[in-house]
């Protein structure tokens, strides 16, 4: 049987690989659009050489589209950078709403492929805890992955962060068909290993259609 450390290590690598793959795919898509817009500009230049007048408004619109894709790629790279740095320290003070927002952004393509929308709902006041950021991101991803499958196409999942007396909660809400999901297999050994390391609890509130992670304010890493 694998030890908790083995499970977390293997799962962590898979998680890191999955997120890296989606990030590279998204950047590639932005580059493909920039490539086509640059190509279209070249086409117009060649046509102008042959005497066809250039339309300044059209050129301006193409430049705008390139700028838009550069901003999109910048946003993706910013998230990639934040995600990569989450392995820097095993214990760190983190703002839960920021982590929920990052995970919603990184999961965007997986959600879109399943026809699901993920909406982070930040807390009114910052909810700060000391924890292992990478393990927490991994746990959020596993819960979100399960919740997206349970919710099904056309539905929206909210990620709500809440401050509690002893720490904080992350609620994956509006999971309509949670009762029909394979809850006998969730949490599995991989989620349990992460929950144990983070000193956290996970409850499936079938009636409310929510998965709830409860986290302590501080863990000694």
């Amino acid at each position: 049987m694998n030890s908790k450390r083995d499970i977390i290590g293997e799962q962590g690598l898979q998680f890191f690989g999955k997120m890296s793959a989606t990030i590279s795919h998204e950047i590639n898509n932005a580059l493909a659009i920039i490539n086509e817009n640059a190509g279209l500009l070249q086409d117009f230049t060649l046509m102008a050489d042959k005497g066809m007048p250039l339309d300044p408004e059209r050129l301006n619109s193409l430049a705008g589209k390139v700028i838009q894709q550069i901003r999109r790629a910048e946003g993706i790279i910013k998230n990639m950078n934040r995600f990569a740095h989450s392995v820097d320290e095993p214990g760190k003070s983190v703002n839960l709403s920021d982590i929920a927002e990052l995970m919603a952004a990184l999961s965007g393509r997986f959600a879109s492929m399943r026809g699901v929308t993920v909406e982070p709902k930040p807390a009114a006041v910052p909810v700060t805890i000391t924890t292992n950021p990478f393990f927490l991101e991994n746990l959020i991803w596993l819960c979100l992955d399960f919740a997206m499958d349970a919710a099904g196409p056309g539905n929206t999942i909210d990620i709500i962060t809440v401050k509690t007396e002893n720490g904080a909660q992350i609620r994956f809400a509006r999971v309509e068909d949670l009762a029909k999901a394979p809850l006998d297999k969730f949490p599995s050994e991989r989620e349990k290993a992460l929950l144990d390391t983070l000193k956290a609890d996970l409850v499936s509130d079938v009636g409310a259609g929510a998965l709830v992670i409860t986290l302590p304010r501080y863990i000694d890493t």
């Binding site: 793959a21 590279s24 795919h25 590639n28 898509n29 580059l31 493909a32 659009i33 920039i34 490539n35 086509e36 817009n37 190509g39 279209l40 086409d43 046509m47 589209k65 838009q68 894709q69 879109s112 492929m113 399943r114 026809g115 196409p153």
Partner: protein, 146 residues
């Protein structure tokens, strides 16, 4: 006659710009933003070549390819993919796609593949037409059976 191309990709900006570039090069281009939309268009219109993205929400590129080949087996399909999904594109070739292309793609490479696909389809169409003519000549009564 212009080559009739159907481009299928969920990235609207990408497909619109590439479609405009192909139109400037005298191709007759139609676009679809999902596999479902592509299948509906294949049922309703005639195309020579389909450029099909591998990774799309809803019906995947592979599922779309299967449906298209069921409806119109002779349409030539070129799979469009990012590096990460080359294996899926190769799987597509096993299912009858002619070729695959990596995103971002060189325009000249794309055009060469579209022209090659069109030439192959035209050759197949011509062979089928010739076989039908031969059948009619050898057995005129067969025309009444259709």
């Amino acid at each position: 006659m212009k080559t009739r191309v159907l481009m299928v990709d969920d990235e609207k900006e990408f497909i619109e710009t590439l479609s405009e570039r192909l139109t400037l090069r005298d191709y007759d281009v139609t676009t679809a933003l999902s596999g479902d939309e592509a299948v509906e268009k294949v049922k309703s219109y005639l195309f020579d070549v389909i450029i099909l993205d591998v990774l799309m929400p809803g019906m995947s590129g592979i599922e779309t390819l299967r449906e298209i080949k069921k409806i119109k087996p002779l349409i030539e399909v070129i799979m469009l993919t990012g590096n990460a999904t080359v294996e899926t594109a190769i799987e597509g070739m096993k299912l009858g796609a002619l070729d695959f292309l990596l995103k971002p793609c060189e325009t000249e490479a794309l055009i060469a593949k579209i022209d090659k696909a069109y030439a192959k389809k035209t050759e197949q169409d011509e062979r089928i037409r010739a076989a039908k003519v031969e059948e009619l000549v050898s057995s005129p009564i067969s025309a009444l059976k259709e």
